[in-house]
Structures are given as C-alpha cells and as structure tokens.
C-alpha cells in the first residue's frame, strides 16, 4: 500500500534518501535525551519503510520513477532511477532497519556502550546512503554513494575506539577505499571513455563494436573493485569489521553494506554489460570461478573459526559469492537466484547475528565452544538460530532454499559444472559448520564448573530475532513479492 | 682593434673567475669579484652599452662589493675546506655548458648588422624614438617610456629588497654613549677629505639624475651615487651621526614615496584618459608629455634607489657595530 499517494513519484525518492538523513540530524540534535533519541530512530525507520512501500507499489504497477539532481560533469549527473532490483534491496534494508533499531536499543543499553548518539547518527546516515545506492540512476551516482557509505560506516566499525577497533578500521577503510579507487573508479572511467555514457541501460551499454578483451578487463575490475562484495582475495575487511557492535555487524555487514556490494555487481552485470553481453566474455567465467572458489574457501575458513561472529562473517563472505556467481552465470535463472538471495540471505543471516548478539549480551559468550547446552537456557533464541542456519544451508522450509534452487537451475541450464559442484560443496560445508553448534546447544551438557543463571535475552533483543526468524520461514512459503521484483528486473531487460 | 680589446678583457675575466673558484680567502674573493664586475663594465663600454657599464660599475663594483665586505666583517674571512666531493657540480656545469655551446652554434654571428634583433623591434627605437619620445638617449626612452612598465617593476624589486633586508636585519637605533666608538673619529684627514668630496658626489648624482635623458645615466645610477655619498659620510662620522642627518624612518618613507611617485604618474595618465604610463596624455603636446613623464618617473626611481641602498647599508652597518668588529 502507498501511504504517500499525495506525492509525485520522484518526490518519493527524495524522501527515501532524506528521511534517514534528517533522522540522523534529529538523532544528533536529541543526543542528550536517550529515550527521545531512540524514539526518533524508530519513527524514522518506520517512516522510511512506508516510503519504500510506496515506491514498491508504483514499481509493481510499472510506473517509472526517476529524478535528476545535478550535473557534476557536463553530461554526467547525480540522478536516481527506480528499478525492481533496487526496490527489492531497499525493501529488505528498510524493513530490517526497523527491526535492528529495536534490537540496537536493547543491545547498546544492555552492554552500556559509549558514544551511542554518534552510533545512531552514523547508522541512520549509512542507511540514507544505502537508499541512495538502491535508487542510483547511473554508475557515477552509484560510485559517489558507495564511497559515502564506506566513510559513514567507518566510525561504526571503530566504535569501540580501542586498538583492535582501530586495526579493524584500518583494514576496513584500507581495502574498501583502495579497491574502489584503484579498480572501481578506473573501471567506471574506462566504461565512460569507451561508451561515452554511464547510464544503466537494460541490456547493457556495450555493443559488438567494443573490444571484448577490454570489456573483459573492465568486468574483472568491476568485480574486484566493488570490494563490498567481498570477492576473495579482497574479503579481509569483512571479518575485520566484526569488531563493531553486533547491530552494526547484523544490519550493515550482513545486509546493507555487503548487499550494496553484490547489488552493485548485479546492476553492473545486468544493466552495464547485459546478460547476453556477459555470456560472450571469457572473463565472465574467470569471475565465476573466483566466486566459486570464494564460496568453498570461505566456508572452509568458517569451519575453523571458534569465534561465533567470525564464523558468521566468513559464512557471509561465502554467501555473497552465491550472488556474484548468480550474476556471472549470465542466465535469467541465475540472475533471479542472485536477486532472490539478496533477500533470503538477509533474513537468515541477520537472525544469526541477532542470536550471536543476544548470547553475548546475556551469557557474555563469544566462542562456539562455549555454547554447550545453551539451548536449554535460551530455547527461543536457539530455535531462531536453527531456522537461520537451515536457511544458510539451503534446506526447506527456509528462504535460503528458494534462491539456491534458482541458482542451481541457472548453473545446470548453462551446464556450468564448476558452479554446480561449488554450490553442492558449500552446502555441505555450511551444514558442517552450523549443525555442530545446534547439536551442542541442545544435546551437550553445560560445562561443569560455572553455573550460568541467565535465561532468554531481554525483549527488545528477543523480539527482533524472532521476527526475522519468522520472516525467514515466511519468505519460503510466500516468495511472491521478491520473485515478482526479481522477474521484473529481467523483463525490462530484453 | 675593438675585438682585440674585447678579447683581452674577456681573457682577464676568465682568469679572475678561475682564481675566485680556487681561492679560500673570502676577502680576496670579494675583491676579485669587484675587479670582475669592473672588467665587465669595461667590456660593456667597448660593446657600446655605456649606461649598463655605468650601472655595473656603481652596483657590481660598488654597492655589492661593499655589502659583501660588510657581511665578511660579520661572518669571518676564510672559507673552510669543504669535504663533500665537487664531482656532481662539475658534471652539472659541464652538461649545462655543453648545452649552451650547442645553442650558440647557430646563433646569429657576433656583431653582424643584419641579425634578427637589429631587424625587428629595435629599428623603431633607433629611428623613431628621437621623434616619438624626443630624447637623444634611446636607452632612456626605451627604459622609461616604451618599456616603462619593466622599469617600474625594477623599482619595485629594489623596494622589495629593502623590505627583505629590513625584516631580516632591521635598523637598530643606538644610545648616544655607544656612538662614541663608531665611525673613524680619530682620523682628521679623512674628515676634511670627506667634507670636501661628499658635496661634489651629491652634485654629480644630481647631474646624472637629470642629464640621463641626454647622456648615460638616469635615476638608478643617480640614486646609487647619492647613496654612496651618505655611505661615505656614515663610514667616516659613524652611523649615529648619519642617522641624525637621514634617519632610517625617513628612508623608509622615501623608498615608499619613490614607488608611489612612479606608479602615480601611471595613474595620472589613466585619469587623463590614456593607458597606464602613457605619457603622451600628460601634456597638450605628446613630446613634452613624454618629457614630464620621464623626468618624474626617473625621479621616483632615483629616490627609491637612494633610500633603499642607504637603508640597506644602515642595516648592515648597525649589525656590524652590534657585534663590535673593529
């Protein structure tokens, strides 16, 4: 439903970007009174969601929405164009922001963290730039807000301010900035000087007149330049970013930021090179193999991690490569699978992070090896964890199954056996590093010696993770909306 | 014949330069430099550049040498052996020199009357300037009128030099009791001579100032000469007395005034509807306009140069007296 009937479509975009931004300012203004501040955050989040809903409506009705802001270079402008994929992403992000805000309140207070105003300010600001990325109408705009997002999240990563945080921040900024400046910007300027445009065109901007080798080079530059997609070997920033408070890891480094990365790759694949264009490039296969390798290697690393958040981080790295792989399959099924995975992985992974945070706040445990028997103390939490894990592995009745299904289809109908094997392999690996946790949680005895007295986490923490877990199931049983958007994305492209 | 003199002088120059390279006694080095610039002044004469020769003699051999000696008095007169190898400089110099020699190889031959520079711009100066500007001394007309803007820049350069020296050294006024030991009070002969010479020098300065339109000379040389007169005075009678005659503050104002006078002429010609420094509009008849303009700006140059040179000397002098070197 669209609560914003009154407004012209283009104004909705302005709102989508401005609402969180204004929210950020209000947060900064009300910093003195925590309750008011949190209230502002929540209201902002809800408002934003309604706005995005409105945009979704219009998009599903097929109303094109676009908005031109200003020419930065002659003929090159900051401009926004709404298209289905962006809507899907925006929808997920804005919905999860509401949930995360609730969670964050509980978490930040539960661990009485410092600088909470700065935290919520930067958080809202990051969301605002995420919205801008979702609706960006050309590569320049995308790049601009991609960088803004990097800088906006930096203070969140270094929130703790201790050496570990500083070190993490260095890696984070170092990798994200250098990849984006050296490769992404290079690729963008390259594209511009070849094609003379940075528009997102259905079917891509390149044509047969362009040198395939150079196009291949550009594709590789794009894939590695979009460091937020955490394609190996440029994935190190993501585990490093885990020093941040859990809500950040949950929303930004499981959903918003990393999805901004893969989203950009999908957009480049579909709207700059075009599915058909991709299929003609040998470089596509190269990137696909990189993605496959990332899936497997990252899963193996995850297996070795005892720190829960670290394990989740590496699992994220692996899962992101699903989407890259989906894009590089250069088939409709693959692209749909990729798009779907943006949504499905989001719900699953955020649940897992919420759980990790819940355990940390209540039981003060970070390590997998400490979780024996925790299922008895926190049954609901661990139930949610189980659902999330199933979704990661890709079994029914969790959302992850759907996207993985499409990916598999895509891989099969182009006969990409490497992709098929990688998918299967990583599924097994996922199982290998999630099942033990669940097993330990429910069937092992608590370590003798210390006796925890805690039960479930406080409601503001518990409720959000239950909601996301529920969503994970819901999307499996009723995936129409995301599917519709994903399909629409490809319909507009011939 | 002229070539022969030329050659001899150049040879002497070369010897002097070589000597300077190897000498360690800075006093001798500076003296040789004085000689060097005198010799080059002679060359300038033999090459028909009388004005330049005049200036070179008064500045290079005069002011510069004096200032260098003043510095030596404060910094000691022998150069220490320097360890670091002189190979790299040698290479640089050889390369640069080679480049220059290469460059000379298709220069227009020395002294040929049909060289491009005698064909293109200069002819107008030579043929027209006496009519357009009305001065027999073409150098002055080019200097003050055709390229008057350069000369204004030159005046400003001198002015900036003064600013630099003042900000670096400043001029310290001293109490009377200190003044006793400064100067050369005990040499009676010097006093008498100085008293005789100084008025003549100033008179000569004025002559050079105003005769510049007709013969060699002009504001710059005049200013230097006048400054020389006061320098002599303060050497003999000591800085405090000199300060009493022309105080550093007055000199500051004079220096500034000279520049303003010069630029002022330009502004007036703008107000009178001409371009900046267009003297034609200064009077009903262009020629006399040119005349007024040139006289005034030459005066401006003279005043500034005089003031600057003298205050620079003051600055060094008061330093010397500060670290009482006898």
């Amino acid at each position: 439903m669209n609560l914003w009937q009154g407004l012209a479509p283009s104004q909705l975009i302005v709102l989508a970007v401005l609402v969180p931004f204004v929210g950020a300012l209000l947060v900064a203004a009300t910093g003195k009174k925590p309750n008011l501040r949190e209230a502002v955050t929540l209201v902002t989040a809800v408002t934003l969601f309604t706005v995005v809903m409105g945009i979704t409506d219009l998009t599903l009705q097929g109303t094109p929405i676009s908005l031109h802001i200003i020419d930065i270079f002659p003929g090159l402008s900051i401009q926004f164009d709404v298209e289905p994929l962006g809507v899907l992403f925006a929808l997920v992000a804005s919905f999860l922001w509401i949930v995360t805000s609730v969670y964050a309140v509980g978490y930040m207070r539960g661990n009485n963290e410092g600088n909470q105003t700065r935290f919520f300010f930067c958080f809202a600001f990051s969301i605002s730039s995420v919205m801008a990325i979702c609706f960006s109408g050309n590569l320049l705009t995308l790049f601009v807000f991609y960088e803004v997002l990097t800088l906006a999240t930096y203070p969140l990563v270094t929130h703790a301010g201790n050496d570990a945080a500083k070190q993490g921040g260095r890696t984070y900024l170092g990798i994200l900035l250098s990849t984006s400046i050296c490769f992404l910007l290079f690729a963008i300027v390259g594209t511009y000087s070849l094609t003379g445009t940075l528009e997102f065109k259905p079917g891509g901007v390149f044509d047969d007149t362009h040198n395939k080798a150079i196009m291949g080079l550009l594709l590789v530059l794009f894939s590695f330049g979009i460091g937020k997609a955490a394609l190996m070997p440029f994935h190190r920033w993501l585990p490093a970013a885990m020093v941040a408070p859990t809500p950040v890891s949950a929303l930004l480094h499981a959903v918003a930021v990393v999805k901004a990365g893969v989203f950009s790759i999908l957009k480049v694949a579909v709207y700059v090179f075009g599915i058909d264009g991709l299929s003609e490039l040998t470089a596509t296969d190269f990137v696909l193999y990189m993605a496959a390798a990332t899936m497997v290697i990252a899963s193996i690393i995850a297996l070795t991690k005892d720190n829960l958040k670290a394990r989740l981080a590496y699992s994220t790295v692996a899962q992101l490569s699903y989407i890259v792989l989906g894009a590089m399959l250069a088939t409709t099924a693959g692209a749909i699978g990729g798009a779907m995975h943006i949504a499905t992985h989001a719900f699953g992974k955020i649940t897992l992070f919420f759980v990790a945070g819940a355990i940390y706040t209540t039981a003060h445990k970070k390590l997998v090896s400490e979780l024996d028997g925790i299922g008895k103390r926190m049954p609901l939490t661990m139930a949610a964890f189980t659902i999330g894990a199933i979704s990661m592995i890709g079994l029914p009745p969790a959302a992850g199954f759907i996207s993985k299904w499409y990916l598999l289809l895509g891989a099969l109908d182009v006969g990409q056996w490497v992709a098929v094997i990688a998918l299967v392999l990583s599924t097994l690996l996922n199982a290998a590093y999630f099942i033990p946790i669940i097993y330990a949680a429910y069937f092992k005895q608590e370590k003798a010696g210390h006796h925890d007295t805690h039960g479930e986490a406080s409601l503001p923490i518990l409720i959000p993770l239950l909601i996301t877990a529920a969503m994970t199931l819901l999307v499996f049983f009723n995936p129409d909306l995301p599917l519709a958007l994903a399909k629409q994305m490809l319909e507009v492209s011939p | 014949m002229a070539e022969f003199i030329d050659l001899v002088l150049l040879a002497m120059l070369a010897i002097t330069a070589l000597r300077i390279i190897f000498l360690k006694d800075l006093f001798a080095v500076v003296m040789l430099f004085g000689i060097y610039s005198f010799l080059s002044a002679l060359i300038f004469v033999s090459l028909d550049a009388v004005d330049v020769a005049f200036t070179e003699a008064s500045v290079g051999a005069g002011i510069s040498t004096v200032l260098m000696l003043g510095t030596l008095a404060l910094t000691g007169r022998t150069e220490k052996e320097n360890q670091h190898s002189s190979l790299l400089p040698l290479v640089v110099v050889v390369v640069t020199g080679a480049a220059l020699i290469y460059g000379t190889l298709d220069m227009p031959p020395f002294g040929a009357a049909d060289n491009p520079i005698h064909e293109h711009v200069a002819p107008r100066y030579i043929e027209e300037s006496p009519k357009e500007v009305g001065l027999p001394n073409m150098v002055t007309s080019v200097l003050a009128s055709y390229r008057g803007f350069d000369t204004m820049g030159e005046t400003v350069v001198v002015f900036s030099a003064a600013i630099g020296v003042l900000s670096l050294l400043g001029v310290r006024r001293r109490k009377e009791n200190e003044s006793a030991e400064s100067g050369l009070m005990e040499h009676r002969v010097l006093h008498v001579i100085a008293k005789l010479v100084i008025p003549m020098i100033i008179l000569f300065a004025l002559y050079v100032q105003f005769h510049g339109d007709f013969g060699p000379g002009g504001g710059f040389q005049a200013g230097v000469i006048a400054a020389a007169a006061f320098i002599l005075y303060s050497l003999v009678f000591g800085l405090p007395r000199a300060f009493a005659v022309v105080s550093p503050t007055v000199l500051r104002y004079l220096a500034a005034f000279g520049v303003l006078l010069y630029a002022g002429v330009g502004v007036v010609s703008m107000l009178k509807g001409g371009h900046f420094l267009d003297y034609n509009v200064l009077a009903a008849n262009p020629i006399s306009g040119q005349h007024y303009g040139i006289i005034i700006i030459e005066l401006g140059v003279g005043i500034t140069v005089f003031a600057v040179m003298l205050s620079i000397f003051y600055a060094f002098g008061s330093q010397a007296e500060r670290s009482d070197i006898k």
């Binding site: - | 060097y36 550049a49 260098m68 150069e79 640089v92 190889l105 220069m107 620079i312 060094f316």
Partner: protein, 118 residues
Amino acid sequence: MNHVLDYYNYWIVVFLMMSGFYIVISANNLVKKIVGLNIFQTSVFMLYISMGKVSGGTAPIVVEGVTQYSNPLPHVLILTAIVVGVATTAVGLSLIVRIKRAYGTVEENEFENKDDAI
C-alpha cells in the same frame, strides 16, 4: 675559423657563466655562493650585451652624422636585470648575517648537521 670569429665572444661568456654557476653549486661557504651567483648573472648580462653589439656602431645616443647605432633594447633589459641582481644579493647577504648569528657558522655542511633534516 669563420665560426670562431663569429662566436668566440659567446663561447668565453659561456665559460664565465659556467664558472659562476660552478661556484654557486659547489661552494660550501654561503658568501662564496652569493659571489658565484653574481658572477653567473654578470656573465649572462654580457651575453645580452654582446648580442646588442653592431660592429662599427656606436652607443645608442643620437649624435649628428652617426647612422649605425648598437641595439638599445638589450641594454635596457640588462639595466633592469642588474638591479634585480643587486636586490637578490642584498637579501641573500642579510640572510647570511642572520644565519651566522643563529648558527655561528656560514658553512653549509656545518649548520646542516646542527638541525635535524628539514
């Protein structure tokens, strides 16, 4: 031989320039550097004046019955250049005086190692 007659003047001037230049970059004593700078510049002045010369010409001051004048323009330029030269010299020397007072020496290598680099 003809070449030599045409250019001997320039060649010697180049030699003079370079000896001045050499003093500037090789000398370790600041005063000597400044002397070198002056020699360098004075020699450049000679280059200019030499090109202004017209054999058989006279100084560019109108005299009855003289038709062949040397070129006044280089003279003007060099007049300006000389002034610029002395201005620089003055500033350079007063810098030396201050350096002597601050460091107690005017030998480049000596005051270099009195301060940490830069």
